[in-house]
Amino acid sequence: MSLALIAALPFLGALLPGLMLRAGRNACALATGSVTLLALLGLLSHLPAVLRGEVVQARFEWLPALGLNANFFLDGLGFMFAGLILGIGLLIIIYARFYLSKTDPMDQFYTYLLLFQGAMVGIVLSDNILLLLIFWELTSLSSFLLIGYWKHLPEGRQGARMALTVTGMGGLALIGGMLILGNIAGSYDLTVILENREAIQDSDLYVPALLLILLGAFTKSAQFPFHFWLPHAMAAPTPVSAYLHSATMVKAGLFLMARLWPVLSGTDLWFYLVAGAGLITMTLGAVIALFKDDLKGLLAFSTVSHLGLITMLLGMGTEIAAVVAVFHIINHATFKAALFMTAGIVDHEAHTRDIKRLGGLRLLMPVTFIIGTIAAFSMAGLPPFNGFLSKEMMLHEAAHTSTLFMVMATVAATFSVAYSLRFVFHVFFGPKRDDYPAKPHDPGFGMWAAPALLVVLVILIGLFPKTMAGALVETVSKAVTQAEELPYYSLALWHGVNAALIMSMIAVATGAVLLALHKWLDSAWIATPRPEAKAIFDALLGAITRTATRFTDLLHDGAMSRYLAIFTAACVVIVAGAFFTADYLQGTRPPLPITNASIVGFVAIMVPTIALAFLHRNRYLSLVLMGVVGLILSVIFAYLSAPDLALTQLSVEVVTVILLLLALYFLPKETPRESSPARRWRDGLVGAGAGLGIGALIYALLRREPDNIGWYFLENSYTGGGGTNVVNVILVDFRGFDTFGEIIVLGVAGIAIFAMVATLMRGEGGRRLRAKASEHVKIGDRHPLMMVVATRAVLPIAVMVGIYIFWRGHSFPGGGFIAGLVVAVAVLMQYMASGLEWAQSRQRFAYHGMIAVGILTAAGTGIASWFFGYPFLKSTFGYVTIPPLSKFEVASAMAFDVGVFLTVLGSVMLALAELSRMGRAADPDQPVNTDPMDIVTDGGAIRATSKDS
C-alpha cells in the first residue's frame, strides 16, 4: 500500500464514525477499527523491505515552488512509530468502545481519534519537513479536541487549553527551527537533510536551529520545564490518556529528536541541553509520581519520567545509547498503555481513581489485578519483564557517562520502583473496603482484552528479547543513527553482576523502603511548599492577556471609525517613512498630453467628488453625486481605451444607485452632524494623507515603463482563444478559473442577502419595519402610466440588446458580465414600474436557482474539458455558418460565459428583489395590484384594469 494512502486512510476514515453511529455503537467502533486495521496491514506489507534495510518512498509534487511536497518515506524508525500508532490505536479503539458511556457522543470521539491518528502517522512518515510541520500542528489541534472531549468538565477544557498553548507554542518554535535547518541543508527533504551533518553543525545558525527544534520537541514530549501540561491533560477520557499521553503524541518529540539525531547530536550543546533536560525530567517526574494520589496523575508523572529517560539516552549522543532509547520506546509503550487502561478499568468499575480510597481490589478484580501488576512490575524495572531489560541498559549507559548521571539515574530508578509498587500495593493489596463509590468487579472481556494483549507482549519481550524485538531494534537503531554497523550490544535478561545490576538492586531495596515509609513521606511532602505549575501558568497567561487587552483596547475600542482611522494613518506613516528614507527615481515614460476633453472629464468628476465631502449629510443628494461620479468614471474608461469597463461601470452604476435608493427608503434621509470640528479635521487629514499616498503611488507607476505579461494575451487571444476582444477572452478563457471564483463570490453575496433579509423579517427588525410603515412617504401614483407602458415596450428590446451584447462579447466589447447587468436593469424596470407582485407573478425561475444553474454551467464547461483529456476550463473553438447569418465563431468558453451571465443576473436580481420584498412588507396596508395596466379578457369583454383597483 502506498505510504501516502496509509497516512491518508485515518483522515478519510474520520468521515465514517459520524455516519456509522446511526447503525449502532458496535458498527461505529467496527468501522473505525477497520480503517486503522487496514492502514496497519498496509504498513505491515512493507515490513520485509524495512527489515532488509530498504527505504520505501512515495513522492508527490504539491507546491514545488515553496519546496513543499507530499513526500513520504519509511525506514525502521518510521515503521516502529507508525506500528505503535496504528497498533495501539487499534487496541484503544476496542477499549474505548466499552469504556465510553452511552451518553458520550461516540462518533465525535472516534472522529477526533482518527484525525489524531492520521496526523501522527503523517509525522512519522513525512519526508518533507514542511509536510511534517503541518501534521505536527494537526496533532496539537486534534489532541486539543480529544483532551477537551468531555466538554462539560472545566478541568477538561482548561487542560486542553494548557496543552494547546504549550505544544502550540513549541510548534511555532519548531517551524522556525525546521525552516532554518532546511535553509542550511538547501532542501526541505529529510533524506537530504540527514546527509548534511557537517554543513549543519558548522553553520552559524546551528545553535538557533537546535534551540528552536528542541523547544518544539521538549514541549511536545513534556520535558522539564514544560512537563507541567501533561498531568493536566489527564482530564481526558482514559483511552485518550493511554493513546496520546503514553504511547504516541508525547513520543512525537522523541521521534523528532531521534529522526534528527544524525545531524544534530554529538555536540556539547546537544549533550548538555538534551541529556540534562532528560536527566532532570526523569528524576523530577519519578519523585512527584510517588506522591500523586490520582492513579492517572501517578501514571502521568511516571510517563514524564520515562520520557525524560529516553530523552537523556538520546542526548548522550552515543550510538549504543540510541539503541537503548529505541528499545525503551517500545517497552514503555507496551507497559504504560496497559497501565493506563488498567487505571481506566479501575475508575470505570470503582468510580474513583483516588489511591487513598482504593485498596483490596486483588480479590474483587482478579484479572485486572494480574494485568496491572505485571505492567507495573515492568514499569518498576523488575525481571523478567521488558522494562527491566531497557532499564538495566539505561543504568549501564548512565554509569559510564559520569558520577552525576549514575547517582541521579539510581535515584530516579528508586522512585520508579516505589511508585510502581505503590500502584500495585495500595490499589490491589490491603484489606477489602466497604466504602468504594461503586461495587468493583472485573469488566467484560472487551475491556480487558487490549491491556491483556499488551501485557503478553511485556512478558514475551522480557523473556525472549532477541526473538521478539531483536530485528526491530536493530533496524530502527540503524535508521536512527544512520550507521552501517552498530556497536556490540546484547538484549538479554542476565548480563552477569555489573554496575547496572548493583544500581538496580539498590533501587529496588530503597524503593521498597520508601513505599513502607510512604505515609510519613507523604505528610512531609504535603507540608512542603512547592511551586504550583497551574497557578504559575494561569498567572502568566493572565498577565499576557491583560497586557494584550490593554494594548488592544487602546487602539481598537470597538468603534469602527477609530480603528479605521488608526489603521489608515499607520499605513500612511509607514509608507511615507519608507518613501522619504529611500532614493526616488523619476519615471521615464513620457506623459500623454492633456487634451481639452480630458480637462472636461477631470472637472466633471472632481466637482461631485469634492462636493460629496461637504454635502454628504443630505443623503439623496449624496446618492446623486455618487451616481454622477460613477457615470463620469465610465466615460473616462471609454476615453482611455477600455470599452468593456465603460459598459460594465455604466450598468453597475445603474443597479447600485437603484439599490441605494431602495435602502434609503427605510433609512433616515439626513445624516445628523455629530462629530466635532476637531474630529472632522482629523478625519480630513487622515483621508488627505491616504489620498495623497495613493495618488502619488499611481502617478509614480504611470510614469514608469510597464514590465508585464499583457503582450502574451494580445498575441494569443485570437490564435489561442478564438476571440478578438482580449478582455473577454482573458475573462472566460485564459483566466477562466479566476472568473469562476468571482462569480461564486457574487452568487454567495446574493444568497447571503437573501438569508439576511429572511432572518431580518422574522425577527425584531421585521416587527419594527411593519410598525414604522405609516411613517413612509407615499407617492400618489404607484404605477405611472407612461412608465409602465414604456418599460414593457422596452423589455423585449432590452433583452434582445442583452443577448446581442452577450453574443458579440468574445470578439467585440460585451460579454456575460455586461449582458447580465443589462438584462438585470431591464427586468428591474418592470419591478419599478409595475410593482413587486406583478413582476414576481410573471417570473418563472427563482433567482437562487439562476445563480445555481449559472455556477453549475460554468463548472460543467470546465469539467467537460476533462473528458477530452484537457485541464479544467481549457476551452476550444471553431467557426460555424448558419444561413442567413454570416460566419461566426463558437467557443466552448461561451458556455462558460452563459454561466457568468446567469450568475450575474441572478445575484443582482436577488439582491434587489429582496430589498423590494422588504419594502412591500413595510407597507402591508397598501392595496396590491397584480395587474396594473394589463389588458384582461373577462368573458369576452375587454377592459383595461384601472390602477390600484
Binding site: 500623454l592 468593456d644 441605494l660 433609512l667 495618488g695 499583457g710 447571503a752 439576511m756
Partner: protein
C-alpha cells in the same frame, strides 16, 4: 494626463476615506463605493494609459494591456456585490438596533413608547 488621473484617484481615495470615517452607516456605504471607484480606477490605470487603442484585435494596433481591464471588470461587479451586502447589513442593524449609528455597543436601541406598545 497621468497627473490628472493621479489627482482623480487620490481625491476619490481621500473623500472615500473621509466618508468611511463618519459615524452613520449610509455615508460609510457611499464612502465604500467611492473607495471602490478609486481601487478599480487604480487597478485599470496600472496597465498604463493609452488613447484610441482598445484591446480589440480587429482594430489597428497598438493595443493597450487587456489584463488589468479584465481584472478590473470583475472587480467592478464584485464591488457591487460587496456594496449590496453592506447595504443589507446596515439595514439589518438599523431595523434591529433602532439606530443607524456605526457603533451601537453599550447603547439601548432607540425604542419609542409606541413601538413598545405594539
Amino acid at each position: 494626463m497621468e497627473l490628472l488621473v493621479a489627482i482623480i484617484i487620490g481625491s476619490l481615495t481621500a473623500v472615500g476615506t473621509y466618508l468611511m470615517l463618519r459615524l452613520r452607516t449610509f455615508p460609510v456605504i457611499v464612502g465604500l463605493s467611492l473607495l471602490a471607484y478609486a481601487v478599480n480606477f487604480f487597478l485599470f490605470a496600472s496597465g498604463r494609459l493609452m488613447l484610441n487603442s482598445p484591446p480589440l484585435l480587429y482594430v489597428e494596433g497598438p493595443h493597450t494591456d487587456g489584463l488589468p481591464q479584465a481584472l478590473t471588470l470583475t472587480a467592478i461587479v464584485i464591488a457591487f456585490g460587496m456594496t449590496a451586502v453592506a447595504v443589507i447589513m446596515a439595514l439589518t442593524a438599523y431595523l434591529n438596533g433602532g439606530s443607524d449609528k456605526l457603533d451601537m455597543q453599550n447603547e439601548a436601541p432607540e425604542v419609542t413608547p409606541e413601538e413598545r406598545g405594539q
